[in-house]
């Protein structure tokens, strides 16, 4: 009767797993706060984004647990409760990620989830977070679709969405070179590349209707060989070449195109170029327009928090934190602020009116119990908080989507080291559509300031 063993086996396995989960959920909730952290540990996104993000997360958690972060973040962990990270690889596609998210929530019993670099994963995870009623902070994905297509109670995104990258790029370009007649692009053939190009194209059309598109190259993600694309771009003779390439693809493109003098003819815009300045060095042509998808890295305003992040990050890696690291800081500090704001409110509520005995007990009880998810959410919505990248305010998506200003600059080689000069900052309202208005429509409508 071998085959009946199958049923038994499956049953047993599940029983075992169930028990495991039972134990986990038995532990008292808020004594340590378990945070599921999802980021790319393998695949092409691991090097440029995933692992820097992980390093930043670990550094920040250590600091917070030690209470070493600068004010106002100098309380231990979240409101005194130490943090514990459960790190998961984001590789493997949405199917696996949704399963992993569910495991994090109901097998690992994490209290919060912070994660997701890929927009696809963010779109897939958000509804699940809602279903499982788990407060989830998307830290690095850019697609505006998350809050433009739906609204969520449990999902927050502490970085601004990607529309501003394209819009600001177009504005900066035209301020720098008002005479632009023709522009082309080379972007990866997947959602991020396509959206970046389309938004940039729309923005150009509404800002400079007389400028024309020469060519839009769409090499597939990870193509690695760009010989033909470069020839096509060279022949297009564009005044400007827009690119949202990142990571290995961007580096490959630069290595292959600079020796061929592509950018002697054309002005280059790298929407996500900032993290590679230190890596590309001489392969980064002077006068390239670069962004960091927000006021991160070289664009981050001087502040105690900024220096703090740089120092703790450099203690773990041998180079400056790039924008994913800054996004991680935004996520953790945003959640921390919300958590502690909620806790204080709850404490104040917990003080019984008029009575003067039992106060201590009540407060201790409340303190140990920590705030409920409901309270954290209430505190998080519309919250404004400081970060190494400046002040973020959760003012879009019914208070769930952060808006921040952004900045672009131009590279300049100063004795062998790439620096960024001529930095221009754009306030959030100038580059971000108002709540309830989808990005493409807003851009087509002439990008009226949202406030």
């Amino acid at each position: 009767m071998g085959k009946t063993i199958l049923g038994a086996a499956a049953g047993l396995a599940l029983a075992a797993l169930t028990a495991h989960a039972g134990v986990a959920s038995a532990q008292e909730k808020r004594d340590t706060i378990r945070i599921g952290f999802v980021t790319f540990l393998s695949g092409p996104a691991a090097g440029p984004f995933g692992v820097p993000a992980k390093l930043a997360a670990e550094a920040i958690v250590e600091q917070l647990n030690a209470g070493k972060a600068p004010a106002p973040y100098n309380t231990k962990g979240f409101g005194g409760a130490p943090l514990e990270l459960v790190v998961i690889d984001e590789a493997g596609g949405t199917t696996k990620q949704v399963s992993e998210f569910r495991n994090l929530v109901s097998r690992q019993n994490v209290d919060f989830v912070i994660g997701y670099i890929s927009s696809g994963d963010c779109l897939a995870i958000a509804p699940v977070a809602e279903e499982l009623k788990k407060v989830t902070v998307l830290f690095d994905c850019g697609t505006p679709r998350v809050f433009e297509e739906a609204s969520y109670k449990y999902v927050f995104r502490t970085r601004p969405h990607a529309t501003m990258d394209a819009v600001a790029a177009a504005k900066y370009l035209l301020e720098l070179k008002p005479a632009v007649k023709t522009y082309g692009g080379i972007n990866q053939n997947y959602a991020w590349g396509q959206d970046s190009w389309n938004d940039f194209d729309l923005a150009m059309k509404s800002l400079r209707p007389d400028a024309t598109v020469t060519t839009s190259q769409m090499p597939k993600f990870g193509a690695g060989q760009y010989g033909a694309e470069i020839s096509a771009l060279l022949q297009s003779g564009s005044d400007v070449i827009h690119s949202s390439l990142w990571g290995g693809d961007l580096e490959a493109l630069m290595m292959q195109s600079v020796p061929r003098g592509l950018f002697r003819k054309s002005q280059l815009i790298l929407v996500a170029g900032e993290p590679y300045l230190h890596r590309l060095g001489a392969n980064m042509p002077d006068g390239t327009i670069v962004g960091a998808r927000g006021t991160h890295g070289v664009f981050a305003p001087e502040s105690g928090l900024n220096t703090w992040l740089k120092n703790i990050y450099k203690a773990k890696a041998d180079y400056d934190p790039n924008y994913p690291a800054y996004s991680v800081a935004l996520a953790f500090l945003g959640l921390k602020s919300a958590f502690e704001k909620a806790k204080i409110e709850q404490l104040s509520k917990s003080i019984p009116m008029g009575a003067n005995k039992g106060v201590k007990e009540e407060m201790e009880k409340a303190y140990n119990l920590g705030p409920s998810d409901e309270q954290v959410i209430a505190a998080f919505e519309g919250l404004s908080f400081d970060s190494p990248s400046g002040r973020a305010s959760m003012s879009l998506g019914k208070g769930h989507q952060a808006v921040m200003g952004t900045a672009y600059g131009t590279t300049k080689l100063v004795n062998g080291k790439v620096t960024v000069t001529n930095i221009k900052r754009y306030p959030a309202e100038a580059v971000t559509p108002p709540d309830g208005l989808a990005s493409p429509e807003w851009i087509k409508g002439g990008m009226k300031p949202s406030k």
């Binding site: 092409p44 769409m218 033909a228 290995g248």
Partner: protein
């Protein structure tokens, strides 16, 4: 016209790159009837080794020209280490299993190597750009090409000719062809098949690694490059006819040209041009362009 010229040149460059990454795959299949999914990982290993060797060489301040030697050395090194290791340590234990099972074995090797390379070299992109710029560049029309691409073209041409000569005109080559034609018969007449396998696989790995090593200066070497290359290589060898050297060459040229054309004329379809070609060729010639003749059944 000018664009046509560009298409041809870009096509040729891309084709030679394709040929170098694909030829090892078809060689191994031809002799051992193994479609080696791990080919991509070995390509990646070659690239990583190249950054390590080349990086060391340049760091020592030796003459930069020597870095080319380092690239080749890296490939040979990977071949000599990984080849025997995988063939003797693993493949030998599964010979005689069905082709698809062997594909799965190499798929497992692919997964394992993905993580091992990650553990060995980390996830940060590595690069060795020097050899790419070193030779300067030349102009055709108003288009400038790096001389390195020319080197690539010549080298893959050299590889093609060398292999053809070895297979056709040396004793080893003849033995190899005997094995390709009929394993049992070859074993029967006293050819040491197991040794032929070992050598073939090692050479195949070397070629894969060479592809990686030569690509390293043009890209940033990081996780994920293996998976990208393998399907391309598959497409090329399948189009040409599995196990056929000339097939691999022709397949590379076709794919290379079609892609170059797509990029210049119709960028939207570049993404799946390769697979469209593969499907079309297989539809017209079910076993690829140069298919080996079938043995009689009854």
């Amino acid at each position: 016209m000018n664009q046509f010229l560009a298409i041809v040149i870009d096509g040729v460059i891309y084709s030679s790159w394709l040929f170098i990454i694909a030829v090892g795959l078809t060689l191994i299949y031809g002799v051992m009837k193994i479609l080696n999914v791990a080919h991509g990982s070995l390509y990646a290993l070659g690239a990583y080794a190249a950054t390590a060797f080349g990086g060391y060489w340049l760091a020592q301040g030796y003459p930069p020209m020597g870095s080319y030697g380092m690239l080749v050395l890296a490939a040979i090194f990977v071949g000599l280490v990984a080849g025997p290791l995988i063939e003797r340590g693993l493949l030998r234990l599964v010979y005689g299993k069905e082709e698809v099972v062997l594909v799965l074995v190499t798929y497992a090797v692919f997964l394992i190597l993905e993580d091992l390379t990650k553990l060995a070299f980390g996830v940060d992109p590595l690069s060795i750009p020097e050899p790419y710029g070193l030779l300067g560049s030349f102009e055709i029309g108003e288009l400038m090409y790096p001389t390195y691409s020319l080197v690539l073209v010549l080298l893959s041409g050299f590889v093609a000719i060398a292999l053809t000569l070895i297979l056709g005109h040396t004793r080893q080559g003849k033995l190899l062809q005997a094995v390709i034609h009929d394993r049992e018969m070859a074993a029967g007449v006293g050819i040491n098949v197991s040794r032929v396998y070992l050598i073939t696989f090692t050479v195949g790995v070397m070629l894969a690694a060479l592809g990686g090593a030569l690509t390293a200066p043009t890209i940033s070497v990081q996780p994920g490059i293996a998976a990208e290359v393998i399907v391309l290589a598959f497409a090329v060898v399948v189009i040409g006819g599995l196990g056929s050297l000339g097939g691999a060459a022709l397949g590379a040229v076709i794919v290379g040209m079609v892609r170059a054309w797509a990029v210049h004329k119709w960028p939207e379809v570049e993404l799946f041009s390769v697979y469209a070609v593969m499907a079309l060729v297989l539809i017209m010639r079910p076993k690829g362009l140069f298919a080996a003749p079938e043995a009689r059944k009854i």
